[in-house]
């Protein structure tokens, strides 16, 4: 049977999951440094316990470690997420349209920043990382129903903020 202690198994686990761990912590706290630290911490722990953690449990193991690492971090920190610049697509759109798009995106950014941390994390994991509700539920340790609720509320308050209600 495969063993996490084997370099190849470990590397492939890292390659498939490290970015999600990074994003997950980043969505939560809006802090890149914390997100990088969480990745290192989670996988060092996995390496140290590689004999005890089976490969199919490894994913939820690293999420749990990353999550626990910041359990006691003061939640009050104001989050300001920044998103990487997408390489500018050449558009044939009119300048007005581009302006409008930019404005909408700024509004969305601000609305995302002001969401409760669990709603923002759920929303972005689904929208950006394409994670299924069941996967997010597993990661957050709650039911699928709870994730649906978060998703619903997230969309609702994003819409309300953007439409200025």
């Amino acid at each position: 049977m495969d063993n996490v202690c084997e370099e190849e198994v470990f590397s492939s686990l890292f390659k498939t999951n490290s970015k999600t761990v990074f994003n997950y912590i980043y969505y939560k706290f809006g802090n890149e440094e914390k997100a990088h630290d969480a990745v290192q911490e989670a996988f060092v722990k996995l390496w140290e316990n590689c004999a005890k953690v089976s490969p199919d449990k490894a994913r939820s193991y690293v999420y749990t470690v990353a999550n626990n690492m910041y359990l006691n971090v003061i939640k009050a920190e104001k989050v300001r997420l920044k998103y990487a610049d997408k390489s500018e697509k050449t558009t044939h759109e009119s300048p007005d349209y581009v302006m409008e798009e930019k404005e909408f995106k700024d509004k969305l950014d601000r609305a995302l920043d002001s969401l409760p941390e669990n709603q923002r994390t759920t929303f972005l994991l689904n929208r950006i990382d394409g994670k299924k509700y069941a996967e997010i539920a597993d990661l957050e340790g709650v039911s699928v129903k709870a994730i649906e609720k978060r998703m619903h509320l997230a969309l609702k308050s994003l819409r309300e903020q953007i439409d200025g209600i």
């Binding site: 990074f22 969505y27 909408f104 972005l124 929208r127 619903h152 819409r159």
Partner: protein, 303 residues
């Protein structure tokens, strides 16, 4: 519409009818737009290869460890021993009591961690533990000191003669050879002496001379006289008065043909040695002869 329909919609779980209904709502346009724009969001760049390299440097090397086990063990043992010594030394130094001492003819003020104040008279010493202070307000005293205790938990002054405990008050403790006096200036002080406890309300004293409890005299000031650079006595044997004189001026006292048990009532200056000697000698009908660091006190009618 059904519960959490927005989440269902995102997940393509709405029926055609439900979807048609939703698309008719005024909000639909914005929801659709949120979906499109959020799909273009990107988190900060994360370099998986670099992170993996960092990790390889961070994580303990498993295979190598086995080979190096025994030399590593020696180093680890040494490191552990050094760490243990450092830790013990650290805790030892940390747990040492803080001690403040005054010499003859010296006074000093000590501020305790809870802002209680101690003013230390000449030739006295206090010690206390800063580390345990929060749990245990305990001061050891040799000599004499005036205490202004901040309100709080029980505050104890431990002396060889007895224990003085208070909650928050101002009081003076004098603990000299064969002489123990506690005077309360504010609040309430409890004195445990020889197994019995005495409560001292403000304005009362508790005095033990040569093992005998004296009838307390009422202090008529708000602070002990020594804090105003005077030493006051009421019916105190001359021997103790002269001891105090020695401590205040750092001058050795020699006596000749004098009754040291005679009681003295009065005050002497702690700053002017001639005035002080006069204050002591006149009411007691004795004479003195002051040399540099020494004074001879003798009976008036002696040769």
């Amino acid at each position: 519409m059904k519960e959490n329909y927005l989440a269902k919609w995102l997940n393509n779980e709405l029926t055609e009818a439900e979807l048609a209904e939703f698309e008719k709502t005024a909000e639909y346009a914005t929801y659709k737009k949120i979906l499109d724009v959020s799909a273009d969001l990107e988190p900060p760049k994360f370099d998986i290869e670099k992170a993996l390299d960092d990790l390889r440097n961070n994580r303990p090397e498993k295979e190598v460890k086995v080979i190096r086990l025994s030399p590593m063990k020696k180093v680890m043992r040494l490191a552990a021993a050094v760490a243990a010594i450092v830790a013990v030394a650290y805790f030892y130094i940390n747990s040492l009591d803080i001690t403040v001492t005054t010499q003859y003819a010296q006074q000093t003020e000590v501020i305790l961690p809870d802002a209680s104040e101690i003013i230390l008279n000449a030739a006295s010493e206090i010690s206390y533990s800063e580390k345990r202070w929060d749990k245990d307000r305990n001061v050891k005293l040799e000599g004499e000191a005036f205490f202004k205790v901040a309100k709080g938990k029980r505050f104890t002054v431990a002396t060889e003669n007895g224990l003085v405990t208070v909650l928050g008050t101002q009081f003076n403790v004098e603990n000299r050879k064969d002489f123990f006096e506690v005077t309360c200036y504010e609040g309430l002080v409890s004195v445990a002496y020889n197994g019995t406890e005495t409560k001292l309300p403000a304005g009362t004293s508790f005095i033990v001379i040569n093992g005998e409890i004296q009838h307390p005299e009422t202090p008529n000031s708000s602070v002990p006289s020594w804090m105003n650079n005077e030493s006051s006595f009421k019916s105190i044997p001359l021997a103790f008065v002269l001891d105090e004189f020695e401590r205040q001026f750092n001058i050795e006292v020699e006596t000749k043909n004098i009754d040291l048990d005679q009681l003295f009532t009065g005050t002497f200056s702690n700053t002017n040695v001639n005035l002080a000697l006069q204050s002591i000698s006149t009411p007691s009908h004795i004479k003195f002869n002051l040399e540099e660091n020494k004074v001879l006190i003798y009976a008036e009618n002696a040769p």
